[in-house]
Symmetry: C2
């Protein structure tokens, strides 16, 4: 019942805290600092979760297999639903679309709060990056938002 | 599987972040500031959870009834187990004992890390205080630890 709410509330607290703390600092670009702080926190949580999560899992046969696991199993555990749509260009770029992203459902729908969105997506971008990193894929993850609460995560796998 | 791990990892990130951030500040008593920052975050999360959680609940008949709800239902949701022992002096003081507190299980047992413990208990003290506050009980909550991972929370309800 309140199970999934716990993550949502904690996430809100983290975002609020990071932004409040930065507001009292003299840094030049506060927005960039906050976003990267949140991204890094998400990264470490993603890394930790994958270690727990894949303990009893079979190995993955390719990158797409890893992405499918992330979209189904990992996403369900964290956000209580699966990714609605996964696309790839088969050259290392993946687009994960969530039509009702859990961390955005508190906002009113539409474009009203769209400028506020990056701060509520940074943690999740890091989460994806951390999870993939522990599965052997280094990547760059960005989020794109056109209409709340739908959102797209773009993953570009870095070839070594 | 990794469900309960998510809260644990997030909590660790919050604690680490709050302490790291304070370390770069010039404040006089950093330890007090960090503990109260974490306590306040817990307080707000506790308040939020109770609102969700008690939406469909019957009303409570007295303070003890509220405490039992907290020890059973709320604790199970957050920490995946119930409080092991609840005591009261019937004058507004309650002691909640958890023999294997979820946020301390990562530490090695015994007394080795006991000085580090307050920073991992502050959030949970706030959580209890916030939950009780939204149920109409103002309280002071402290934690006591003698042997990891067992711990006691003392709740003193403030009479108006």
């Amino acid at each position: 019942m309140a199970d999934d709410a716990l993550f949502g509330f904690l996430h809100m607290e983290i975002v609020a805290h990071v932004y409040k703390e930065q507001a009292t600092r003299e840094d030049i670009d506060k927005r960039v600092t906050c976003v990267s702080t949140l991204e890094l926190m998400g990264f470490r949580v993603g890394q930790g979760l994958i270690e727990r999560f894949t303990k009893d899992c079979p190995t993955f046969k390719d990158d797409l297999d890893i992405m499918k696991f992330l979209c189904k199993d990992l996403w369900s555990t964290i956000f209580k639903k699966q990714i609605d749509n996964l696309r790839t260009n088969h050259q290392g770029t993946y687009v994960l679309q969530d039509n009702k992203f859990a961390l955005l459902t508190q906002f009113s729908s539409g474009k009203q709060y769209i400028e506020e969105a990056p701060k509520y997506l940074a943690f999740s971008c890091g989460l994806i990056r951390g999870a993939l990193s522990n599965l052997g894929l280094e990547s760059v993850v960005t989020a794109e938002l056109s209409l709340m609460p739908s959102c797209k995560f773009q993953v570009v796998v870095q070839k070594l």
